[in-house]
């Protein structure tokens, strides 16, 4: 939707006396390297144009230069806050393209790992969102909780932030009894700790006053911009790919899809926090159901993988913490992908920024931008 149309719909006229403000690319609340060209009439934003590309590092083309498994390191670095969710989108798509069967245990391990990483990603969002709204203490609480998850992921994968753990045909290493024990200990007080952090937000008068009714995006706009994930659910649509188009074993698990009607910053916070509770619920169920067996397909041992030749095309949408993520792969019969198209949720979500900014005050801008949870590895690719 063009920005002049947005202005017309909200009854804003472009006056002669406007002030142009440049926001970013270096700003503590852009969560990376976003630049927004803002035009102000007094305090009201009459025009906002996001400028992206400050972190463009050729993820798609570099992935098309190597064998299929080599693309995984670039996939990891797309949404670096939730690297395992990115890997999942890639390995599912590649396995469909190559027609590889995955053992049951690997699927359950994957489910547990992506949910843990989803919680870690939402914790980063919650902490930095608090910083943007002028609250310093949630940042430290959130990072304390996030480090607990990272200790578990470190124990299982051997890495803290970028894992390279899912392999085409399974996972690289099995979960140990020690790590399962760590997860159980972590689960025992997770909900209590999260509720404690949640109350800092919900009971803060200033936070509620600043976020309720700020950065509203209606359901129609959300759908027409292609916005997915928590932002879509906050606008009133119960759409979660884990529920609506199940992959892995999500159809065998009980969990709720949280949704709100308001579509503002406060609603997005509520949706994300409820998602974290639900993710912990999924992890607890996976621990009970984890079957014994192989953790990768023995037919395709790791050195074999690089020589697999594939033909055809595949795309499996997955629910990443930011929204619908998937990789469209085209194989031309060689062992190198012919086309490696990334569908990244943050890019589509960011395109709705003008609709959420125009007509609101400049002081609400940091709240709105941080509520979108953009990650620039994924936007600029």
């Amino acid at each position: 939707m063009i920005r002049s149309h947005l202005r017309k719909r909200r009854g804003i006229e472009m006056q002669d006396k406007i002030v142009e403000v440049n926001f970013g690319p270096q700003h503590p609340s852009t969560h990376g390297v976003l630049r927004v060209k803002v035009k102000l009439d007094g305090e009201v934003i009459v025009d906002a144009q996001p400028v992206i590309g400050y972190l463009h590092r050729n993820a798609e083309k570099l992935s098309e230069m190597g064998y299929y498994p080599k693309a995984q390191i670039y996939v990891d670095r797309l949404d670096y806050a939730a690297a395992l969710n990115m890997e999942l989108g890639f390995v599912l798509s590649a396995e469909k393209l190559m027609d590889i069967q995955v053992p049951d245990r690997a699927l359950w391990i994957r489910m547990m790992m992506v949910e843990l990483n989803r919680i870690a990603s939402h914790f980063i969002w919650l902490g930095t969102h608090g910083l943007d709204m002028g609250m310093l203490s949630p940042f430290f609480y959130c990072f304390r909780e996030r480090e607990k998850i990272f200790r578990i992921l470190d124990e299982i994968t051997g890495s803290r932030l970028l894992y390279n753990y899912f392999a085409i045909g399974g996972v690289y290493s099995d979960v140990t009894p020690k790590s399962l024990e760590m997860i159980k200990t972590w689960l025992s007080d997770f909900d209590k700790n999260l509720t404690e952090i949640e109350n800092i937000f919900k009971k803060s008068y200033i936070y509620v006053a600043r976020t309720k009714g700020t950065g509203k995006l209606s359901l129609d706009d959300t759908i027409s911009y292609g916005v997915t994930g928590p932002m879509l659910r906050a606008a009133g649509k119960k759409w979660d790919l884990r529920k609506n188009k199940p992959y892995l074993h999500y159809d065998q698990i009980n969990f709720d899809v949280p949704s709100q009607q308001a579509g503002d910053v406060y609603a997005r916070m509520l949706v994300r926090i409820e998602e974290m509770h639900q993710s912990a619920r999924i992890v607890a169920q996976v621990l009970d159901k984890l079957p014994a067996g192989d953790f990768y397909n023995k037919k395709y041992s790791k050195p074999m993988l690089v020589r697999i030749k594939a033909t055809g095309e595949s795309y499996i949408p997955t629910e990443s913490p930011k929204g619908e993520f998937g990789i469209y792969l085209v194989g031309d019969g060689s062992a190198i992908p012919y086309r490696f198209r990334i569908r990244s949720p943050s890019f589509a979500n960011l395109s709705a920024a003008p609709a959420m900014l125009i007509g609101y005050k400049i002081a609400d801008m940091t709240a709105t931008l941080s509520s979108m949870d953009p990650v620039f590895g994924e936007v600029d690719r």
Binding site: P28, G53, Y54, L55, L62
Partner: protein, 152 residues
Amino acid sequence: MSDNILVTTLDEALRWGTGKSLWPFTFGLACCALEMMSAMGSDYDWARFGSDVFRDSPRHSDLMIVSGTVTKKMAPRVRRLYDQMAFPKFVISMGACASAGGPYVRGYSVVDGVDQVVPVDVYIYGCPPRPESLIKALKLLQDRIADGKVKH
């Protein structure tokens, strides 16, 4: 003679003070920025080592941690932010991307190391480096400041 001794002592005292009161610049570029945030977060708490508050303005800070891939579009901004910082100023190049281009070195839009844009005092390896590495880099930088071996 006595003047000389006094000047040297003051110089050393200044260097000691500079090293123990570094104010880093909140400057996140990519993945490494998350590990930088972990280092300043509750578990690693690098305020223990005399580098306390992350400042949001380059004019308040004297340590720039280049955390992430520097693209050709971002490089002029990095230089400009460096120029805006007040003397004395120091740069830590965090991770493989900032040090030498990292996994993206073959890309057309990536600068092969931030040292082509700003002078770097300490490099850290890793993709991304763990917060412990960043704390070690800080200690190294403090030692170098105490020895007077820094680039400006």
